[in-house]
Symmetry: C2
Subunit: 302 residues, 2 copies
């Protein structure tokens, strides 16, 4: 496998904003996504069809999807917890959706109020209808390297959920280190185990920088053959059950990491930095991206 | 080569504090170093015998060295720019000193006011007298993956300086990515090139986290065979020529990284976190360590 190129899945406008305390209006979210797409990102989470009572940050996701200008080669995706969510996504002509499972029973219960098996059963009709409608489905597996409630998560549990989601029709399985506990060794073992049951081209890495390990884990996954990575502009997001913890690895860091090794991302870093500055300002907070912080400080000293 | 163990060189009390805006009194610096040694660090930078006019943060380094309680197996080191510095170090019975060279002409001129060759010549009598006195000398090479003034630095220039310092009698050569510009690919190539001229057991990695790449670069160097790494408690320090930029990789991050892979460091993480909290409070600033931030937030939520 060549290391020529990777695909970045930008999760800032959904996974990122969903885990920020502040809910942003539709206009800001649309502008963020448009800026990120203009910077060269080709797959972008745009919203979630979940109850705004539980997730106010994602209210108006239908409106976000409706307003986004279609761009050739760009896919806007939405999280759908069930058939009702899928129907809402179909109504706004969303061509890719995602379902969210956990590798840890404790996290599944706490996060989506059902067992892992119940969640997989719930996704069956979603996958069936999506297939019927020609809509691609991505599967997320959370807690792949540890659970905030139960601690260690056996690799076999991750492999089982990844395999079932893939068998069910998910075209890509995103392996999420929800609490950022992994290190390069455990990341490598995880990828190797999952790749024994799911084609490695169907695996994606989703790392959190809670302990500063995300970039090293992405590199380990890259070297193990993974070519799809989730990241979040300005490092938006986090885990709602780990207050104070940093969240998703910043898209800026991954673009810098890959550029430095000649691995193409298709992303224009200066345009990406501007998108980051835009959302930092909207949220009124400092960037969690070290690349953004360093390059802005350099620019302001020139 | 086994991946059983690494040696960490704690640079917080010298390289770290020297690059903080605030100068701390001797008592605080002594307590910091004592706490770090108690946490299990075995080689610790304790001061620099340079002019307090230029580096007020290192004033009283003789007093620091004098006050430190000797511990079996623990080495306190000092930076010495010249023979006068070495004499001052000898006076307080310092058993290991370090000299500081650059791989970039522009940086050498700006930082130590002389060419690379002039700096190497200046170190000759230092190395000779240190050998005579049975004092170990470590050599630093800065700008190994880029220079803040001249940009790219050819690997051959790094190899030359590393080789000359080693030939001159430095027992260990610390390769410093002063501006944190490296990525795992360039780090690996650098280590391989240097290891072709200097035994890899005599090479150390010194990474800055300016662009969030330090942990990934340490991992790349580890996989390339390096077993000695410099780090700074709480991520203290930075580069005086890159304002706003984060500095040295945090010791907490490296301990977490290595622990996660079963690589022994000899360091007790809870004790290390306490040493970090101590110096954060003394400086009145937040930790730059993500491990420290995450673990403290977890502890305060329990």
């Amino acid at each position: 496998m060549t290391m020529d190129a990777v695909k970045l899945v930008e999760v800032g406008a959904r996974d990122g904003l969903q885990n920020e305390a502040q809910a942003l209006p539709v206009e800001i979210r649309v502008e963020l996504i448009e800026r990120l797409a203009a910077a060269g990102l080709r797959t972008l989470e745009a919203g979630a069809f979940v109850s705004p009572r539980w997730v106010p940050q994602m209210a108006g996701s239908d409106e976000v999807l409706r307003r986004l200008g279609r761009r050739p080669g760009v896919t806007y995706t939405a999280l759908v917890p069930n058939l009702k969510g899928l129907d809402a996504a179909l109504e706004v002509d969303c061509r890719e959706v995602a379902v969210f499972a956990a590798a840890s029973e404790a996290f599944s219960q706490k996060n989506i109020n059902c067992s892992i098996d119940e969640s997989l059963q719930r996704f069956q009709p979603v996958l069936a209808k999506a297939a019927e409608q020609g809509v691609a489905v991505r599967g997320y597996v959370s807690c792949v390297l540890g659970c905030p409630f139960s601690g260690d998560v056996p690799v076999v549990d991750v492999v089982r959920v990844a395999r079932e989601l893939y068998a069910m029709g998910c075209y890509e399985i995103s392996l999420g280190d929800t609490i950022g506990r992994g290190t390069p060794g455990s990341t490598r073992r995880l990828v190797e185990a999952c790749a024994s049951e799911v084609p490695i081209t169907a695996l994606a890495g989703h790392f959190h920088d809670t302990y500063g390990m995300a970039v090293a884990n992405v590199q380990a996954a890259l070297e193990a053959g993974v070519r799809v990575f989730d990241s979040s502009i300005s490092g938006l997001g986090g885990c709602p059950y780990s207050p104070g913890a940093t969240g998703n690895v910043a898209t800026e860091e991954l673009v810098y990491l890959f550029q430095g090794q000649g691995v193409a991302t298709g992303v224009d870093l200066p345009a990406l930095l501007e998108a980051g500055a835009f959302i930092d300002k909207a949220l009124g907070k400092a960037s969690a991206s070290r690349v953004a912080t360093a390059l802005r400080s350099r620019a302001s000293n020139q």
